[in-house]
């Protein structure tokens, strides 16, 4: 029997540590959440008490344990075509604009910067496959990144439960781009191979990234302090091509954080572009 009851000191230790590693802020009152997620980590590692887990953590010896604890504190909720309108704008305005000859290199780079289990970058891939069957010579790259190693490996596997498949995925695309795999659905190779996944921490130094035409940085900065948001927006700006588009989550904005972005209201969604 594993028994847990997190002490204030342990809670503070965890939240300092998680904040340092991921910028995720765990507010007061999240004790229960932290405890239950630590419980999951302990169970997976066959540790029998909170003390054991905490002392291993504090020793700093087990790097993969540190990573698992941070990973366990991430909220990975996502869906296909989340909020719908950003993807309509991508399909109806941005992609046509980018494929109309103003792009002589015929290169398109799209980045899903906190992609969770892959629904966001795969949604983008399906849209491109369906509406922009790339003519000869086009080079389309979709990159999906996330802090969570577990999410990245799930995204790479492309295997989704019935509950996940139910969340926002149009039936037409379900049939066209997924195949039955036991009780789950697996995304087909032609979509899968359009997306590259890699683990990346937005609050550490960014690796070399190609210049992006479109960045999806959605529903991740909500967990961060304004200072961290500013820093991430500054870096995103440097990665964005001139004229490129940034999408944030419905509850996120650049306003009062980074004035170099202009706010564009397109149909029912908002996106951002670097002012010229």
């Amino acid at each position: 029997m594993v028994t847990f009851s997190i002490s204030p000191a342990d809670f503070d230790y965890i939240r300092d540590f998680v904040k340092r590693r991921s910028a995720i802020v765990l507010d007061d009152g999240k004790e229960y959440l932290v405890e239950s997620r630590l419980l999951q980590v302990a169970r997976k590692r066959s540790l029998t008490s909170l003390e054991e887990l905490m002392s291993k953590l504090r020793s700093g010896m087990d790097k993969s344990l540190l990573e698992s604890v941070v990973d366990a504190m991430t909220t990975n909720e996502t869906s296909w075509f989340r909020d719908l309108h950003p993807f309509q704008v991508l399909k109806e305005r941005i992609l046509p604009e980018m494929c109309n000859g103003s792009n002589p290199k015929k290169e398109l780079n799209i980045w899903s910067a906190a992609c969770s289990s892959g629904q966001e970058p795969y949604t983008i891939a399906m849209i491109i496959k369906d509406y922009f069957p790339m003519r000869e010579g086009w080079d389309v790259k979709i990159l999906g990144c996330d802090l969570s190693a577990e999410m990245i490996s799930r995204a790479r596997a492309g295997l989704y439960s019935k509950l996940e498949i139910n969340r926002g995925l149009p039936a037409m695309l379900m049939v066209k781009y997924f195949q039955q795999d036991g009780r789950n659905a697996r995304i087909k190779d032609d979509i899968m191979k359009m997306v590259t996944f890699r683990q990346m921490n937005l609050v550490e130094q960014w690796p070399f990234l190609p210049k992006m035409d479109v960045i999806f940085l959605r529903n991740v900065m909500i967990y961060f302090t304004p200072q961290v948001k500013k820093e991430i927006l500054r870096k995103a700006r440097a990665v964005l091509k001139p004229g490129g588009y940034l999408f944030l989550g419905a509850a996120e904005t650049t306003i009062n954080l980074d004035d170099s972005f202009e706010v564009l209201r397109l149909n029912k969604t908002t996106c951002y572009r670097v002012r010229t």
Partner: protein, 121 residues
């Protein structure tokens, strides 16, 4: 907006009815496909039908085939709402003329997402 809810479970119908009313829909209900065709004729049509697959008398699949043979309901969107969750079934429903597919169990948000995809929300 008018929605037709077809399911042999009155609990399920109530659940869906509450969600749809909350979104400002007018609703009509039926417990099987045959009754659904009657209700639909009485009501002079609906904007969207949410249709269970497994029902007595006339199942949801047969209902979709029947209603798609009636030109007056051409514009009505049909969404299957069913425990059937094999992709083959999804394909079969689409071929018969359904426009969307929601698997049970589902959340309020799942239903809203699908209605948004159909453009009725």
């Amino acid at each position: 907006m008018k929605a037709l809810i077809v399911d042999d479970s009155s609990t399920l119908r109530m659940f869906v009815r509450k969600m749809l009313k909350g979104q400002g829909f007018e609703t009509i209900e039926a417990a099987d496909g045959k009754e659904a065709l009657e209700r639909l004729a009485e009501a002079g049509g609906a904007n969207v039908a949410l249709v269970d697959w497994n029902m007595p008398v006339m199942n949801g699949y047969d209902f979709v085939c029947a209603v798609r043979a009636l030109p007056e309901h051409n514009d009505m969107f049909i969404m299957m709402v069913t425990t059937e969750s094999e992709l083959d079934k999804v394909a079969q429903a689409l071929e018969a003329g359904a426009n969307e597919y929601l698997m049970k169990p589902f959340t309020k948000e799942d239903l809203e997402n699908k209605l948004a995809l159909l453009g009725v929300l």
